[in-house]
C-alpha cells in the first residue's frame, strides 16, 4: 500500500512542478506621467544575469530626450540599485549580455551609431563608422558578437562584428556584412545566438521579397556567412495578383541545449487575427525545421505582440509575449516540452487588471527565469517590473 502511494506520488510529482515566482520589484527609480520607458530592442535582450548580479537596460525620456539606462541588483537583494545612464546623446534600444563574474556588456544606438561598453567600468566604444541602428549582442564563453542594421546605400543591411575584451576595454576584431552585396531592400532588427565553439547564428527582418520575411544565416567564426535562408516556411507571392505575401517581423534567437538554436517571431500568416507567435528550431544541423505555432488556442483569435525566446544549456526553452485575451495586455509564457509548446501561462505579477506588456527575459545558469516587463499606468507613469521564477 505504501509502495503504491509512493509510486502515485512519484507519478504525480512532475505534473505538479511549476514556476514559483518571487514578488515583483520596481526597476526604474524615476517614474512620471510624461516619462515613457521602453524595453524594445533587437532580439529583446533587456535583462541578463552574470554571476550573482541581475542587470536590466531600457530607454526613457526623463531628461527631456531619450537616454539609455542600466540598473543592477545582487540576485538576493530586495531592490535594484539606482540606475546609471549609459548614453551622452539621444539613445535607443539598448541591450545587455552577461560576461560572467558580475560583469556585463551593454550596447545601444546613440547619435545614429552603434555603441558598446563593458560594465562596471569600461568606456563606450563606437562599433559602426556609418549610420547604424538596432544593435544586439550575444556572448558564449570567450566569444562575443554584436550585430546591427547599417546603412548601405539606399537601404540598411545586417553587419555582424566579433568583439574582443581585454580588461575593461572592448575592441572590434572583425566586422562583416552577412551579405557582401548591397541590399535590394530594407533589412533590420537582427538577432544573434552564439555557441561556445565560436559559431554564431544571425536572424533579421528582410524585405527583399517585397514583404517582411525573417531570414537567418550562420557563421563558424563571424567572418564568412552562409547564404541566407528563410525562417518562415510561408512562401512569398501575391494573392490573386495583389500584394507580395503575409508579414512576419521581429525575429528573436536563443541558444538552447548543447547545440540547438531556437527562433521565435511575430507572424501574420493568419491575417485576420493579427500577429501570432511562431517558432522554429535548429537542433544543431544549421537548418531550422518547420514552423511551430507557439500560443495555445485561447490566444488564437487575439493579436500577440513583443515575442521573445529564451533558452539555456540544460535544454529548457520558453517563449514569452503579451496579448490582451483577458481584456487587457498581460505577459504570457509557453514552454517547449520536446514536441510542442505547452499551455500558455500568465506571468502572475504581469497579469490581471491594468496593462502589462513588452516582456524581456533570460534563464540563468541555475535554470531560474528572470522576467522584466512594462507596467503601464497613465497617471503614475509606466513602471519597469522584475520577477524571478524557480521551477519547483
Amino acid at each position: 500500500m505504501r509502495a503504491a502511494a509512493l509510486l502515485l506520488a512519484l507519478l504525480a510529482w512532475p505534473a505538479q512542478a511549476a514556476w514559483e515566482w518571487s514578488a515583483p520589484l520596481a526597476v526604474n527609480s524615476v517614474q512620471g506621467a510624461a516619462i515613457f520607458p521602453h524595453l524594445e530592442s533587437a532580439n529583446r535582450r533587456g535583462v541578463a544575469v552574470s554571476g550573482d548580479t541581475v542587470a536590466v537596460v531600457w530607454e526613457d525620456n526623463r531628461d527631456g530626450s531619450p537616454h539609455c539606462y542600466l540598473a543592477t541588483k545582487p540576485a538576493a537583494a530586495a531592490a535594484f540599485q539606482p540606475e546609471i545612464r549609459l548614453s551622452q546623446g539621444d539613445c535607443y534600444e539598448p541591450v545587455v549580455a552577461a560576461l560572467g563574474d558580475g560583469r556585463f556588456v551593454a550596447a545601444w544606438e546613440e547619435a545614429g551609431r552603434a555603441h558598446a561598453r563593458v560594465l562596471p567600468g569600461g568606456a563606450a566604444l563606437k562599433l559602426s563608422d556609418t549610420e547604424a541602428a538596432q544593435v544586439t549582442l550575444a556572448v558564449a564563453g570567450e566569444r562575443m558578437y554584436a550585430a546591427w542594421a547599417e546603412q548601405a546605400g539606399r537601404f540598411r543591411r545586417i553587419v555582424v562584428a566579433r568583439l574582443a575584451l581585454e580588461g575593461d576595454a572592448l575592441s572590434v576584431k572583425t566586422r562583416r556584412p552577412v551579405e557582401a552585396k548591397k541590399p535590394a531592400d530594407e533589412q533590420g532588427w537582427p538577432a544573434l545566438a552564439a555557441k561556445k565553439d565560436g559559431s554564431v547564428t544571425v536572424a533579421w527582418e528582410d524585405r527583399r521579397d517585397r514583404h517582411t520575411v525573417p531570414m537567418v544565416s550562420y557563421s563558424r567564426d563571424g567572418r564568412r556567412f552562409a547564404r541566407p535562408a528563410r525562417l518562415t516556411d510561408q512562401a512569398s507571392g501575391s494573392m490573386d495578383g495583389l500584394g507580395a505575401g503575409t508579414g512576419a517581423m521581429r525575429p528573436t534567437l536563443a541558444a538552447w541545449g548543447e547545440k540547438g538554436i531556437a527562433a521565435a517571431w511575430l507572424d501574420k500568416r493568419d491575417f485576420l487575427s493579427g500577429y501570432d507567435v511562431y517558432a522554429a528550431l535548429d537542433g544543431g544541423t544549421r537548418r531550422f525545421g518547420k514552423n511551430i505555432r507557439v500560443q495555445d488556442s485561447f490566444g488564437d483569435n487575439m493579436v500577440q505582440w513583443h515575442a521573445t525566446v529564451v533558452g539555456d544549456a540544460g535544454g529548457r526553452l520558453l517563449a514569452l509575449w503579451d496579448d490582451p485575451r483577458d481584456g487587457t495586455p498581460d505577459v504570457w509564457l509557453s514552454e517547449w516540452d520536446g514536441k510542442a509548446f505547452g499551455d500558455d501561462l500568465a506571468v502572475p505579477a504581469a497579469s490581471g487588471p491594468g496593462a502589462q506588456s513588452d516582456p524581456v527575459a533570460t534563464l540563468d545558469a541555475a535554470g531560474s527565469l528572470h522576467v522584466v516587463w512594462l507596467d503601464r499606468d497613465e497617471a503614475a507613469g509606466t513602471g519597469i517590473r522584475y520577477a524571478r521564477a524557480v521551477w519547483r
Binding site: N61, G188, R207, L242, G243, G274, V303
Partner: protein, 163 residues
C-alpha cells in the same frame, strides 16, 4: 541607354504594382510631419496604417483610392499620414512618447491591415476602421468626421441613421 531606360521604367512599374504602399498620387507624409501639418492647418488627419506587401492594402489602393473624386476630397480636406505596420521608424505621439511605427499598431490594437484612423488636428483618435472599404464608405466616413457627428454618436449609429 534606351534599353536601360526601359528596364528602369519596367522595374518602377513592377514596384508600384506589387508594393502595398500608400496609393500613388496622394500626398501622404510621415506621422510627425502630418501631426505638425494638421496642428498648423486645423485639418483632421486621415492615417493609413498599411503593411509592406499587404494584399488588401493593394486591393484598396486599386479599387478605391484610384477614384479621382475621392482623391480630390481627401487631398483637399485631410492631412494624409501613412504608417508602415512593421517599420522601426520613430514617431512621437501627442503625449510626447516616442515609439516606432510598428508599436503604433500595438497601441491601436491593430489586428489587420489596412487600418484607417481618423484623428483630430491635435492627434486624438476619432474612429478607426479596418479592412477593405469602398469609395462610398470613405465618403460616409468623411461626412461623419468633418460633419462633427462623432461628437454625438458612434460611427455605427451614424451609419444606421442613413435613410
Amino acid at each position: 541607354m534606351k534599353r536601360i531606360g526601359v528596364m528602369l521604367a519596367a522595374s518602377f512599374l513592377w514596384a508600384t504594382t506589387v508594393l502595398a504602399d500608400p496609393p500613388p498620387g496622394y500626398p501622404f507624409v510621415g506621422y510627425d510631419a502630418g501631426l505638425a501639418a494638421a496642428r498648423a492647418s486645423g485639418k483632421p488627419i486621415f492615417l493609413y496604417f498599411g503593411r509592406y506587401g499587404c494584399a488588401w492594402c493593394d486591393h484598396t489602393n486599386k479599387q478605391t483610392f484610384s477614384d479621382a473624386s475621392l482623391k480630390k476630397l481627401y487631398t483637399k480636406n485631410y492631412v494624409l499620414v501613412y504608417v508602415d505596420a512593421e517599420s522601426g521608424k520613430r514617431l512621437t505621439l501627442p503625449s510626447g512618447e516616442r515609439i516606432t511605427e510598428a508599436e503604433l499598431g500595438v497601441r491601436l490594437q491593430a489586428f489587420a491591415t489596412p487600418l484607417f484612423v481618423y484623428l483630430t488636428p491635435q492627434g486624438d483618435k476619432i474612429v478607426q476602421i479596418p479592412g477593405f472599404k469602398t469609395v462610398q464608405d470613405f465618403r460616409e466616413y468623411d461626412r461623419y468626421v468633418r460633419g462633427g457627428h462623432y461628437k454625438q454618436k458612434s460611427l455605427l449609429e451614424f451609419l444606421g441613421d442613413k435613410p
